[in-house]
Every structure is written in structure tokens, then in C-alpha cells.
């Protein structure tokens, strides 16, 4: 049984809108091929809050805030706000931590992977293969009964905590007190950003659309593999097509492996970085974008994932684990390998043996 034509049409339209918005944000000032990047933007926000001191990447990104709040508002409008949590929070934190290690190895989350592809960055194709491989490994665990156990109903305050924190962080961005960090002009990607209100609005729209359609890159591949259901993947195909066409119009397409913005040309580590992301996010039940959206719906397990992603980003930049345009660091490579092992162990200990 497959989705109705109408469901597929809706997600395609949503994907087209999101793709145009994402490519347009680059025109408005975001770094190239980075209209959206959940990982990079959480990392930048961590920097803005002083959780790390890497000067090139410090800026509280309103896109993140917009996605959480847009998803929350859409959920409330449809009476889908449902505070719940309590499903292996520490395990999720650890998985999220290593998902970020993988993202910062590749220099992008699965959403940015699509946008890099739409900009002609063929390194993202290598990453995509790694991403799919990681998800396939995660699916093996799912099929064997991997479970992080049940969620529990929480009270409204618990569900609203992260959205409220996001509003406070937005206030800090606007007020710009001395203890909030801003990358200086020319210092790096953190200094490249669209106008605050444009970024916020873009995030609100994407958050609402992603909530409405349950958009998720990991889910897209997982659902095709497990259930032959292509609805989510169609949404991402639409994002890719729309972003690519917008990039063509704006002159932002540069096909190739070298000279790519905020990217590097080491196939093995682009593969392994996103392999770790696919693996960890499959066990977490969704890609970073989906986790942001679910946290807006009141899911505190996803809120823990967002925290884990931010702590992971801070850790990576405090200890030189993140890649740069020059390539991966030695410590980063070790961290990715450790991450794959840790995620595999988490997968194994949380998988119930099937009764013979």
C-alpha cells in the first residue's frame, strides 16, 4: 500500500518551496551551499553562546530557532503538540554527540548534503553513499529488534522547555550583549549570514512544512528500504531539484570535487563521516532536521538530541575534531572511528534477541 497521490503532491510542493528558500538564503548572505545546515548552524549557535571559542564559527543562527518554533506553531495549530519523553535520554545524547562528530567530519548534516549536491559539490555524492550505507546498517539493527524503549507522556512545561529556550536564545541574538560571540567580518562561515529576520522567517516556514510533511532524510531512505514507501524521499528529491534550479539561476552551481565551498575532497572521510551520521540517526529515529521539528512538537527525547548535537559541536571545536576546507584532522578521524564503534555497541546492547 503506498501513499495517496495527494500526500505525494503535498510533500513535493513542500520540498520545492524548501529548496528555493534554502538556495535563496545563500543569496541573502548565508555561506555557499549552506542555506540550511542543522549541524553547522547548531555548531555556530554553540559558538555564539561561547560553548566553544572557534572564532570563524560563532553566530546564533535564527534558522534553527525558526525551525523549532515553526514546527511548534504548526503542531499547536493542528492539535499535534504532544509533550512526551523518557525514552533512553542518555543513550540518545551519546548518539547525538557522535552524529555531530560525523556531520562535522563531512562538514554538513543530511540537509546540507542535499544542498551541496544542488550546488554541484560531488563530494556530497560520496557522502550520500556513506549516508545510505550507515542507514542500511542501522536498519539491520532495527529489523533485529533494536529499541530505545517507550516514551511517556510529559506535562506541557516539559514539552515547551526547548522552544522557550530557543526564544531566549533569539532574544540574546537580538540584544547582542558582550558575552555573546559573533564571528568577525571575514573570519569564516560564522560571519556569513542573512538578515536575522529573513533567517528566522525562512526557519519558521521550513519548520512548519517539515512538521506538516514529516520530512526526514533518514526516514526517507529507511522507509524505502523497509517498506518500499517513497513519499519522504520524493520530498528530498524535490528539495534537490528546486535548490539546483535556483542555484543555476543565481549562478551558484560549480560542478566538481575541488574548490568547493566549506568542503574538502577526501572521499574516504566524506564517506565515513556521513556513514556515522546515517547509522546514529537511524537508531535515533530521524535526521537532525527531524529532531529539531519533533522537539518543536514537544518531544523531549528529540530535545535531548538537539542538546547532544550542540555539546558534540562544542566538543569538536574545543578539541580539534572538526574538519575544515583543508580536510579532516587526525583527531577527527579517530573520533569518527570511535563513534562508529560506540554507536554499534549501543545498537547491540539495545537489540532484543529474536526468540528462535
Amino acid at each position: 500500500m503506498t501513499s495517496t497521490k495527494k500526500d505525494k503532491l503535498i510533500i513535493i510542493i513542500a520540498g520545492l518551496v524548501i529548496g528555493v528558500i534554502a538556495a535563496s538564503l545563500v543569496l541573502f548572505g548565508n555561506p555557499k551551499n549552506m542555506g540550511f545546515c542543522i549541524a553547522c548552524f547548531l555548531r555556530d549557535t554553540a559558538g555564539g553562546l561561547g560553548l566553544h571559542r572557534a572564532a570563524p564559527v560563532q553566530y546564533i543562527r535564527p534558522e534553527i530557532i525558526g525551525i523549532v518554533l515553526g514546527a511548534m506553531l504548526c503542531a499547536f495549530a493542528k492539535k499535534e503538540f504532544s509533550p512526551r519523553g523518557g525514552s533512553a535520554p542518555m543513550t540518545r545524547f551519546v548518539l547525538a554527540f557522535f552524529a555531530m562528530v560525523g556531520c562535522l567530519m563531512f562538514l554538513g548534516c543530511p540537509f546540507r548534503m542535499i544542498l551541496r549536491l544542488a550546488g554541484g559539490d560531488l563530494n556530497a555524492l560520496v557522502g550520500f553513499v556513506g549516508f545510505v550505507a550507515g542507514i542500511l546498517v542501522g536498519v539491520v539493527f532495527l529489523k533485529n529488534g533494536f529499541s530505545l524503549k517507550r516514551t511517556y507522556k510529559m506535562n506541557t512545561g516539559e514539552g515547551l522547555a526547548l522552544p522557550i529556550i530557543e526564544v531566549i536564545i533569539f532574544a540574546l541574538l537580538l540584544a547582542a550583549p558582550a558575552f555573546i560571540f559573533f564571528s568577525e567580518e571575514g573570519a569564516g562561515p560564522g560571519a556569513m549570514h542573512a538578515n536575522v529576520w529573513i533567517s528566522l522567517f525562512a526557519g519558521l516556514v521550513v519548520g512548519a512544512l517539515a512538521q506538516r510533511t514529516r520530512l526526514c532524510m533518514v526516514g526517507g531512505i529507511r522507509d524505502v528500504v523497509l517498506f518500499k514507501e517513497s513519499r519522504l524521499l520524493l520530498g528530498f528529491a524535490a528539495i534537490l531539484v528546486a535548490a539546483f534550479v535556483t542555484n543555476l539561476v543565481l549562478g551558484f552551481v560549480n560542478f566538481g570535487f575541488t574548490e568547493q565551498p566549506v568542503a574538502f575532497n577526501d572521499g574516504l572521510w566524506n564517506f565515513l563521516g556521513l556513514f556515522l551520521v546515517g547509522f546514529a540517526c537511524c537508531l535515533l529515529g530521524g535526521c537532525p532536521l527531524r529532531q529539531l521539528v519533533m522537539s518543536g512538537e514537544g518531544n523531549t527525547d528529540s530535545a535531548i538530541v538537539v542538546i547532544g548535537l550542540m555539546v558534540g559541536a562544542a566538543f569538536c571545536h574545543n578539541f580539534g575534531l572538526a574538519s575544515s576546507g583543508e580536510g579532516p584532522t587526525a583527531a577527527g578521524k579517530i573520533a569518527v572511528i570511535i563513534g562508529i564503534v560506540v554507536v554499534a555497541v549501543i545498537g547491540a546492547i539495545n537489540t532484543a534477541r529474536k526468540e528462535a
Binding site: M1, T2, S3, T4, D7, I10, A75, K78, K79, E80, S82, R84, S87, L142, K143, G145, F146, S147, L148, R150, T151, Y152, K153, Q211, R214, C216, G219, R222, D223, L226, F227, E229, R231, L232, G285, E297
Partner: protein, 94 residues
């Protein structure tokens, strides 16, 4: 007029566990329809004639807590474009 019962789940592993139990009875997987609130996205469709057997198998073999799944009764009239959806109760065991 199409009538069926639908199980939705709070996460994918619950859907997989239930699918392993119910697919032998011919129950099919489908994406959660839009008019049902957010879930993991995958649901299981149970035909009215399979209902008693599917519910019995599900209750006997699945270890899902009540918060992990939701159950609906759906009637859709494609000609009129109307859909009628209500939460459903599983039949009581004898």
C-alpha cells in the same frame, strides 16, 4: 466506500515489531494518513474481516505499551471525497 482499521505507532521499531506479527495475516503497511496526528509515519492497515484475528494476535504477541500505539476506525468515500476517522477500541478478549 473503503473501511478499515489502522494502527499507528510512536516509533519505527514499534511499527516493525507489529508488522512482524501482523503481516502473516495479510495486514499491510501504509504511510500514516495526513488527518491522523504525528507519529513515526508508518501504520498498519487491518481489513474489517481480519479485525478479530489481528487484534488477538497483536494483543497476544506484541509487547507494546498503550502509549506506543494508537488505533483508529476509518471509512473513506473516495467518490464524495469524505473521510470518517474515529479512535477505535480493540475487542475485549473472552
Amino acid at each position: 466506500m473503503e473501511e478499515y482499521y489502522l494502527l499507528t505507532f510512536s516509533s519505527t521499531h514499534c511499527a516493525i515489531a507489529a508488522d512482524n506479527i501482523l503481516k502473516q495475516l495479510g495486514c499491510t503497511i501504509m504511510p500514516v494518513p495526513r488527518f491522523i496526528s504525528a507519529s513515526c509515519g508508518i501504520s498498519i492497515r487491518i481489513k474489517p474481516e481480519q479485525r478479530e484475528q489481528a487484534e488477538a494476535e497483536f494483543k497476544a504477541k506484541s509487547k507494546l505499551a498503550e502509549t506506543e500505539y494508537s488505533y483508529y476506525h476509518i471509512k473513506s468515500d473516495k467518490a464524495k471525497g469524505e473521510i470518517f476517522c474515529e479512535p477505535a477500541e480493540m475487542l475485549q478478549a473472552i
